[in-house]
């Protein structure tokens, strides 16, 4: 069969296979094993289908591919418009890659309302993929908000501790941020002629300068989009929902939250703030980069002193996502390529760290670091996987964290040397907090006798962790397999800046 013939419908398939599977689970009787197996099959199916995208992607082209554009609602003018470029294609694959692992890791830890859990997980997957594939702003906003509900329910229903507080906090933070974006989207729709939610059409009209009042509104529109994305990233000082949400969320929720949801923010900054408002992005870059820099160092320092394993990883996300924002607003090819690569690397490594933390929680029902110590003796295989993942997150050369951070630092240094130098200290901090944590959890003598009896990884847990370790190594050794698709997309995202600079210089 010629799989290329799937090109026009592949995005629809990849996006909606999980949701369809979730709906079908409704009709499966409450036999937990069947439901889990079915969810596993569906998520694997979505993963296999999504592999079609990088295989058939024309890597030397920067624009959108696999496009589908059908009128959906005539008035207002909403299209079912989807497409991916070299940036979003990897975020789709990251989502479909992590979801089966989430199913595996939730196999034993979810005991109640198993059916609802896997339905929510699959609906969440569809919403996440939809965010990365939508090219119609209305569709994008629909999927954007659609991620909120399953995630809030996953935290509120299946979390632990102050789960409802965390779920409500997460919901309110991101919802309030999104309202500003909705206002900006509606402004764009009402002022374009013909009225359009279409990303490419809006971009064309902005560049042609045919939108009345755009130059006065643009700073506010920029901020509207920015706030929604900055909350999601999360950028300092809008990050306090993240540690709470992570600590209380079930493992699968944390994996998708850190692995994919945060990237919605950075993806949005890259796709909308950069491409639609080049001039505002330029003039606001200095303080956004400053916030990113504060996030890198502040997140790392707060992470250093966390007594709770999951909170430590959560704050490390604040630090790592700071690198992404720094790279994006450096407006250099190296910085943007690096930013996209850090997004993927962080998704794999931090997703892995949360899975590992969850495995420990299943055995001891605590995340307190002082409860552990010397775990390398009873759990050698677990300790090995943990070390690989920690080193990937630290950014050891030959593992995936290194490539992205190095490129971001190169880009930041090109743009503003002082920022580059300060951000480079973030690499040292990440080694400090992660390796110190690793030392306290795994090295030395077993301090609590109960830890001597902990079982090492079983086959199910190993099969969830092997893909993470393999991805971390392959991405670190052969990053070009990803970067040769990312780079053309980054170049075309930066094209307006070249024109803008030429205009400024020409005057």
């Amino acid at each position: 069969m010629n799989t290329a013939s799937l090109n026009p419908i592949i995005l629809t398939l990849v996006t909606f296979i999980p949701a369809l599977g979730g709906l079908l689970i409704l009709f499966i009787p409450r036999r937990d094993r069947d439901i889990k197996l079915f969810a596993m099959v569906i998520s694997l199916l979505a993963f296999v289908a999504s592999l079609h995208l990088p295989v058939h992607l024309h890597r030397n082209l920067g624009g959108f591919q696999f496009e589908i554009d059908k009128p959906w609602i005539a008035s207002p003018n909403i299209h079912y418009h989807m497409g991916v470029d070299g940036i979003s294609v990897w975020l789709v694959v990251l989502t479909t890659f992590l979801t089966p692992l989430c199913v595996l890791i939730s196999w034993k830890s979810i005991h109640e309302r198993v059916k609802e859990f896997f339905i929510l997980l699959l609906l969440l997957e569809t919403a996440l993929i939809g965010v990365f594939t939508s090219l119609d702003l209305f569709l994008f906003y629909f999927f954007w908000e659609a991620t909120l509900i399953p995630m809030a329910l996953l935290i509120g229903m299946y979390g632990h501790g102050r789960k409802v507080y965390a779920a409500v906090k997460y919901f309110l933070f991101t919802m309030i941020g999104s309202m500003f974006m909705l206002a900006a989207i509606i402004w764009l729709y009402t002022h374009t002629s013909p009225n359009s939610f279409d990303f490419a059409e809006i971009q064309r009209q902005i560049h042609a300068g045919t939108i009345p009042g755009f130059s006065t509104a643009a700073p506010w529109l920029f901020l509207g989009f920015f706030i929604a994305f900055a909350v999601k990233v999360p950028l300092f000082p809008l990050h306090t929902w993240l540690p709470d949400a992570h600590v209380e969320a079930p493992t699968a929720g944390s994996v998708l939250l850190a692995g994919v949801l945060l990237k919605m923010g950075t993806y949005g900054l890259l796709r909308f703030n950069l491409s639609l408002f080049p001039e505002e992005a330029r003039s606001n870059a200095w303080w956004i980069m400053l916030l990113a820099l504060i996030g890198i160092i502040y997140g790392a320092l707060v992470s250093l002193v966390q007594p709770n394993l999951k909170k430590l990883i959560a704050y490390s996300s604040v630090s790592h996502l700071g690198f992404v924002v720094l790279g994006i607003f450096s407006f250099t090819p190296a910085g943007l390529n690096g930013a996209v690569f850090v997004m993927l690397a962080h998704g794999v490594a931090t997703g892995g760290l949360f899975m590992l933390a969850g495995i420990l929680y299943e055995r001891r029902h605590t995340y307190e670091i002082t409860e552990f110590g010397g775990l390398a003796t009873p759990m050698p295989k677990y300790a090995t996987f943990f070390l690989v993942t920690v080193l990937a997150s630290v950014g050891l050369p030959l593992l995936n964290g290194f490539i992205g951070e190095f490129m971001v630092l190169t880009g930041a240094f090109e743009a503003r040397p002082v920022y580059g130098i300060l951000a480079a200290t973030g690499v040292i901090w990440s080694a400090c907090y992660l390796l110190w944590m690793y030392q306290r959890v795994f090295f030395g003598k077993v301090t609590h006798p109960v830890n001597n009896t902990l079982a090492d990884l079983n086959l199910r847990e190993k099969s969830a962790l092997v893909p993470i370790a393999v991805a971390a190594i392959v991405m670190g050794v052969a990053p070009i397999m990803w970067l040769n698709a990312i780079d053309p997309a980054v170049q075309s995202a930066l094209a307006p800046y070249a024109q803008y600079m030429a205009k400024v210089v020409g005057q």
Partner: protein
């Protein structure tokens, strides 16, 4: 552990000899030019450069054998000697055994301030005390205001009629005031 050590020992003996004769000097020539040291050696004459090289090699080999000798003396031949030396040196021995207290100094100067500062100022101070407190207070304020406002919804028809009358009076007063102005 013996086998790996034997392999490493063999490689270190053999490895040292491979470079003699300048076999690798131009190994990366298309990318990296010869460094300043090599330039200097060429300028001052190969012989002088080679003499320094051999001298340094000799010194380092002597140092290695010296270490060997002292290890044999202290641990194998006269194992009672180290304790006597330690006693004779007193404070100096203490300082050396604690690595000149560099670790302690470092802990006091950098590690403790960093950890304490991150805990009290950044985490409890800024993160929980300022940012989170603002968010939580905003939420609490919204709840408190609503809690007060809900008393209007008493279910008492006469009180509703009172609110309507009060509202109507306010609107009329406003219109009159606007008209007068």
């Amino acid at each position: 552990m013996l086998a790996p050590l034997v392999i490493l020992a063999f490689l270190s003996v053999v490895g040292g000899w491979i470079g003699i004769g300048g076999r690798f000097e131009h190994f990366l020539a298309p990318v990296f030019q010869a460094g300043p040291a090599a330039e200097l050696a060429r300028e001052t004459g190969e012989a002088a450069g080679q003499f320094t090289e051999k001298l340094l090699m000799g010194i380092s080999i002597l140092a290695a054998f010296g270490g060997w000798f002292f290890a044999w003396l202290l641990y194998s031949s006269k194992p009672q000697l180290p304790a006597r030396i330690a006693q004779a040196l007193g404070g100096l021995y203490e300082a050396v055994v604690h690595k000149y207290y560099i670790d302690e100094l470092y802990a006091v100067l950098f590690v403790k301030p960093l950890i304490d500062g991150s805990t009290t100022i950044l985490w409890h101070g800024i993160d929980q005390g300022v940012i989170d407190a603002t968010v939580n207070n905003a939420a609490d304020a919204a709840r408190d205001v609503s809690d007060e406002a809900r008393h209007m919804q008493s279910g008492n028809l006469r009180s509703y009629a009172g609110w309507v009358a009060a509202g109507g009076a306010l609107v009329i007063a406003y219109m009159v005031w606007m008209g007068v102005r």
